[in-house]
Amino acid sequence: MSEDIIAALKENVIQGRQNKDDEGIEEDMAGTPGVLELTQAALEKNIPLEDIITQGLTAGMQVVGEKFSTKEYYIPDMLASAQAVGAAMDILKPHLESSNVETKGKFAIVTVKGDIHDIGKNIVAILLKGAGYEVVDLGIDIPTEKIVEYVREEKPGYLGLSALLTTTMVAMGEIVEALKKNGLRDKVKVLIGGAAVSNEYAQEIGADAYCVDGFEAVRVLDGFQESRT
């Protein structure tokens, strides 16, 4: 029974079905339990949290990633699966906090001051949440001091900065400098992304990494996880 739920959870992640109303990819799935309902059922059956995450959610996302790399899946599929996993993580969050299961950490993401473009930022947020990170979206056009204040108060392990315009990307350098001035630079990994920036720019302003897209953001953060262990 527990195996059935875990197998169904994995399959529904692959199908990108957040709840029973979603159609998924295969026919005749609408109406059957989706990731949310199955996660709830798994908790009710007292299936270990680690099994729900690793054998259900993460195992499903791994298949999705493989299908994406072979071009069977496209970004909308990847996002649907990531959103489903993200929604499941929201349900699991209180249980994780009261257990000893280690989480991947908190990732705060923001579009810097002067810039209101957020499609890329939103996609990165969905993908990282789907990859098991706790994602906090600080919004768009956010002043530097507000970002620094958030880092000081909430202590995220990772900070993602997004900018589309060459006129606004300079704010990224200001943020890194402000973190240094406030003694916070070594407390948080800073990742930058967006059409205007590059690997060279990340090095120039002293960011920890440049990510060309959301998939690279997942890879970079997972890389930080591995080096931590």
């Binding site: 990108g16 159609e23 990819i25 496209y74 970004i75 909308p76 599929d77 996002l79 649907a80 959103q83 499609i119 939103n122 996609i123 947020a125 969905i126 979206d137």
Partner: protein, 514 residues
Amino acid sequence: MPREGILVRNPYERISKEQVLQIHHAALEILMDPGMMCFNRQAADIFHSSGAEVTSVSPGDRSAWLVKIPEKLVIDALDTAPKTVKLGARNPENTLIMRGEEPRVYFISGSETNIWLDVDFPSYVKKSDPSTEIRVPEFRPRRGTVADLCMSAHVCEHLETLDGYIRTVNIQDKDITEDNKDVNKFFASLNNTTKHVMSGLTSLKQLDNVVNMAKLIVGGDEELRENPIISFITCLVKSPLQFVEDTTDTFIEICKRGLPIVVSSSPQAGTTAPIKEAGIIAQINAEVLAGITLGQLVNPGTPCLYGSVPVRARLDTLGDSYGSVETSQYNIDCVQMARFYKLPNYSTAGVCDTKTPGIQSSIERLFSQILVTLSGPQYLHCAYGLLDCNSVFCLLQAVIDDAHFQMIKFFLKQPQIDELNIAETLKQTREVVETPQKLYINYIRRVMRSGELSMPYPFEGDGDRDAMFELANNRMQEFLAKPVEHIDEGIAKKIFQNIPGLLPRLNVYEERRQ
């Protein structure tokens, strides 16, 4: 069910209705004055006995007649010429139904080139960085062979957008002669594609052998009339305004047998036709009408296609310039003239002036492929793989052209704007503005898998390097490895027993046994 082709709603019209009438009247006037110079006695006799004014002129040693074709003969011919022409196929699902008034486009290969272009991908090392190696396509021209023709028909069978097959290459093997060329080119084509096969005829003596071969394939005389798996192109008119002696004989004999035939004319603006648009269109219209009139006089009801291959002259060589913008203009004008007469049109697009595939080739061919398609010709030939002003065929280019036509066909799909779609839009917008991300991405998946979205360019490489040729070559190799449905073994045996001149190496069943 016949093939669908693509229906062009609201086809592009370049010339006004008034201009169509002006061309029509000018053509009728040309047919009376100066009339057609006829080098074929049989045709002159047919016209004479039908009421045309025929005068012997005999320039030099050749017998010739000046034929003045009265309007009534032309109008009567336009009455009896079928307005719907069916081109059959070995696989009935590949049948083409062409209605003169319906702008449904079928995409066709052809035409016969002398040169076949091979491609290879040698490696080169970067001088400034010897660790960098790239593969660059290298094209090598050579004379076409019957094996090439088989290979071309095989690949064309698998090209999704290609609706019918005109032989792409002239077979120039040492054992091919004037007496066996026709049977071998038709058999090589028919045996490797289940789509309709059209070709010209090299020797009138071979006509009955070719027709008998087709009868053996479909099962008899009546069956061939019902399912004409072959049809013919004849250039009975040489511009300006001349009935050619031998091809007119061929045309007359094909008409007598009632098989579908293209009445094709290919004037060149600037040399064999006036340089101005009004001039070349009036002349080609006169030439095609003259041919159709003859065909209907020979055998009323003969299925004819209004065949137009007008081109502009290149001013540096006085060769045909298929890549010139005017060539597309002329072809679109002819599409309109054919539609005015309610006759299915055989039109031309996709040929380029450049000698090898590349950027210029892509621009020239895609320009005419898009524009001429938009005008809605029924039978769009020359569209795959032709280069160097119709004298070179490259199979790799044909595979690339298939991708072009997939894009064009997708573009011509009907817009889905209706109550259902508007209601769905309103629902989605309300739902999306409620979400934190405000993205419509979740709605893409169902649409993406329903086939409603166009696919990415199929030969798009990874990274910065253009990989079009390599990826298209991979696709071509896949097509070559994929089998085709050959003519049934028993029928093939009968064909080889009854049709003289076939090369034994074309018998795939015998080849496999060896």
